[in-house]
């Protein structure tokens, strides 16, 4: 390949693709060709860069200049100014919220600064569809080392000593799982990579697969060697077409190169890998359901023991690891158990990938060392809460996890501390909520999800979630009863105790944690018929303050229900009977009037039709003499 000056790392993860990354790619290719820069400048489509909130985005190497929110029409100017003439374009750089000056370099942007890239070390640096790129970044050196210098028990031992625990949620020690399976002397054995990511707002596994699929292929092959498996499957949901395409390509390349298949690299070890697509049932993330699904059976969990390590796929010994767990393996083999164990906290080693979403400035995919505090994640990496609002809580672990309140901001993130706080690590979804989030509404949302996704095998989960949802719905409608909280607290442990799989045993978590930390909100809904965050539609009303209304007619025009009565110079009034509480009037009321108010828990003051507006004087501009 001829020498180049510039490499353009264009993010083509799902987020950026949805934002038009392929249009940017086309525009770049066209303009680069027009300027005759094809030789000097190369364009590399990468997997998820992580800073999804800025997509479509581009990193210019070797300088590491970061451009975000690109539009195809920006491209000709960018190519001419920067790539031809060497003048970086300020207006396309990242500007932190509430700041004026852009930060040109990726390494200086706070979102990236506090991260520690281990599993995602190749994100944004390689083209995921090229095995050469992975090889160049020391790819498959761990496999080489394993097959040529280590015995299977040595590999298991290395992983055990590293302290690696399952990244899918429960945090079971990976080495122990492998050891149990390795000890069973029945063949064939299987290894399964779990990429059935189903939590709302979570996309760690997908992004990993889209940005560095070979790290999973290498990890799973090493795992197969350690336990003596001859066949592997990666179970991945069919809603992840890009991840599937890239993984399939990686598997084909690895097979062509002889990195999987018969007698790998000339050794006696043979192993092959296939993809199994799941159709998106949440319960398939649970290991025994997942195995049933691969076998072509109905995806229902079964009782354990026997554990899959002893009796899994078609009754054969099977290890199931999350794909993030597997992607850690090559790193541990290359750099040693001791190195890995030096990162993190006492019982949680290494890093964890989170998808940071919700009411947060810097939405994106992050990888941080275990033990980092919530405060660092939310304020340093996440850049705080938009519009200066108050941070209220963060939901970790998706529908199986719990809400951690602002008072626990300094909680170090690891398996134990999250459990103590009533939540779980889960697979890594992190949904940030601000002061405008109603905790009853949040629990109801997650319960609705688990209720939909319950496979129905255990009545405690199936009917228990029904009963919980019914109570939560009642509370959010203002029809809650005095004993509802006690009922929820009694029902929750029953569901946890009597359900067979993780879905049932964790589904009460959102309710229990919100009751633990935000009990006053439940009580306000039940006793005062008030929603403190003003979210629950049945408990709020929109009202126009007659003293602030300037009769601009905007809300009257925009209201989709035709519920605003208004005329020129007359105070506008909302007909509460017609109002559907969509909030349009609040959104469109000019901020300098601020006349539309949300009310909850108080009677809506009656405003007569036909009141003349009180004109407000415009505030004088600073420096202007007041007349």
């Amino acid at each position: 390949m001829p020498a180049r000056r510039i490499e353009l790392m264009l993010c083509t993860g799902t987020g950026c693709v949805a934002g038009g990354a392929f249009h940017i790619k086309q525009a770049l290719e066209e303009e680069i060709a027009r300027q005759g820069l094809e030789v000097e400048v190369s364009l590399v489509p990468t997997g998820c860069n992580g800073f999804c909130g800025q997509g479509p985005l581009l990193v210019v190497l070797p300088e590491q200049i970061f451009y975000g929110w690109l539009k195809p029409e920006d491209i000709p100017f960018l190519v001419q100014e920067h790539f031809l003439k060497g003048r970086p374009v300020k207006k396309l750089m990242f500007v932190p919220p509430e700041k004026k000056e852009p930060i040109p370099l990726l390494g200086d942007i706070p979102f990236f600064k506090k991260q520690m890239l281990l599993v995602l070390r190749n994100k944004g640096v390689i083209a995921p569809e090229k095995i050469e790129d992975y090889l160049a970044r020391d790819g498959y050196t761990a496999l080489e080392k394993t097959l040529t210098t280590m015995t299977p028990p040595e590999v298991v031992d290395e992983i055990t000593r590293s302290g690696l625990r399952g990244r899918g949620g429960a945090g079971f020690p990976t080495g122990v799982k492998w050891d149990v399976c390795a000890a069973v002397k029945r063949f064939p054995k299987y290894i399964v990579g779990n990429c059935d990511e189903g939590d709302p707002g979570a996309y760690m596994d997908r992004s990993l697969m889209e940005s560095d699929p070979h790290s999973v292929v290498e990890g799973i092959t090493i795992a197969a060697y350690a336990i003596g498996a001859s066949q592997g499957f990666v179970y991945i949901r069919t809603e992840y077409p890009l991840a599937i395409t890239r993984l399939q390509r990686a598997i084909t390349q690895a097979r062509d190169y002889g990195l999987i298949g018969n007698r790998i690299l000339g050794t006696n070890f043979s192993f092959d890998l296939e993809i199994r697509e799941g159709s998106g049932a949440f319960v398939c993330g649970e290991e025994t359901s997942l195995l049933h699904s691969i076998e072509g059976e109905s995806p229902e969990p079964r009782q354990r023991p026997p554990f899959p390590a002893q009796s899994g796929l078609w009754g054969c010994p099977t290890v199931i690891n999350n794909v993030e767990t597997l992607a850690n393996v090559p790193q541990i083999i290359n750099r040693g158990a001791q190195w890995f164990a030096s990162i993190g906290t006492e019982h949680s080693k290494g890093t964890k990938i989170f998808s940071l979403v919700g009411k947060i400035n810097n939405t994106g995919l992050i990888e941080v060392p275990m033990g980092i505090t919530l405060r660092e994640i939310i304020y340093d990496i996440g850049g705080g809460i938009p519009e200066g609002k108050q941070f209220k809580a963060v939901q970790t672990g998706g529908p199986s996890g719990g809400c951690i309140p602002a008072s626990q901001m300094d909680l170090p993130i690891d398996y134990e501390s999250l459990k103590k706080a009533g939540s779980i690590m889960g697979s890594g979804g992190m949904i940030v909520m601000d002061e405008d989030t109603c905790m009853v509404d949040v629990s109801k949302f997650f319960l609705q999800f688990t209720n939909d996704e319950s496979c129905g095998k255990c009545s405690s989960c199936r009917d228990g979630s029904d009963a919980m949802l019914e109570v939560l719905t009642r509370i959010s409608k203002g029809e809650g009863r005095e004993d509802d909280i006690a009922f929820l607290e009694e029902l929750a442990p029953a569901i946890q105790d009597a359900s067979m799989c993780g879905l049932g045993t964790t589904l009460p978590n959102p309710v229990l944690t919100t009751l633990r930390y935000f009990r006053d909100e439940y009580e306000a809904h039940i006793k005062e018929k008030r929603c403190p965050a003003k979210v629950c539609k049945d408990l709020i009303a929109y009202w126009i303050d007659p003293q602030l209304c300037q009769a601009c007619l905007i809300c009257q025009r925009e209201c989709p229900a035709g519920s605003v009565y208004g005329e020129k110079n007359m105070v506008h009034v909302i007909d509460q009977g017609k109002c559907t509480k969509c909030g349009t009037c609040l959104d469109v009321c000019p901020p300098n009037f601020g006349a539309v108010k949300k009310l909850s828990g108080v009677p809506v003051p009656v405003v007569e039709h036909g009141i003349k507006v009180e004109r407000k004087k415009r505030p004088a501009k600073p420096g202007q003499a007041q007349v």
Binding site: M1, P2, A3, R4, R5, I6, E7, M9, G36, V39, E40, L61, P62, E63, Q64, L84, K85, G86, R87, V125, I126, E132, D133, L135, A136, R137, D138, G139, Y140, T141, E144, T148, D256, Y257, G258, L259, G261, N262, R263, L265, G266
Partner: protein, 127 residues
């Protein structure tokens, strides 16, 4: 394709590493070609191409060729600045592709500035 042996894999990896060196970001030297409108009009683009060709031939992965705006001395364009680690930058003017090749050989690879083409050593002072 044929299955790889260990040897083949290592060769493939070494070959692949050549392709991504710009991403590793470790450079001992930097050649900046000034590409303002004046530079481009005076023929800066063939200079970039010449430097890149020489770089390719040398097989070196610790040298970066880049561009920047007008250097201010438009009558001496095309111009380039060569900065090698631990020595002051040298500005060259009135370049031709041939001169560029010689600068690459003598200064970048050989370590001795091509004084015949140099306009000056060091950078302008800030105010």
């Amino acid at each position: 394709m044929a299955k790889l042996t260990l040897e083949d894999l290592r060769k493939k990896r070494a070959e692949a590493q050549k392709g991504i060196y710009l991403r590793e970001g470790e450079f001992k030297g930097k050649i900046t070609v000034h590409m303002g409108t004046c530079g481009i009009a005076a023929g800066a683009r063939p200079i970039v191409a010449a430097f890149l060709e020489e770089l390719e031939k040398s097989g070196r992965h610790d040298i970066q060729v880049t561009t920047s705006g007008c250097a201010g001395l438009c009558s001496k364009e095309p111009m380039a600045t060569v900065e090698m680690r631990d020595s002051p930058p040298v500005k060259y003017g009135e370049l031709t592709p041939e001169k560029a090749r010689k600068i690459f050989q003598d200064h970048v690879l050989g370590g001795a500035p091509a004084v015949d083409y140099a306009l000056g050593i060091g950078s302008e002072r800030g105010a």
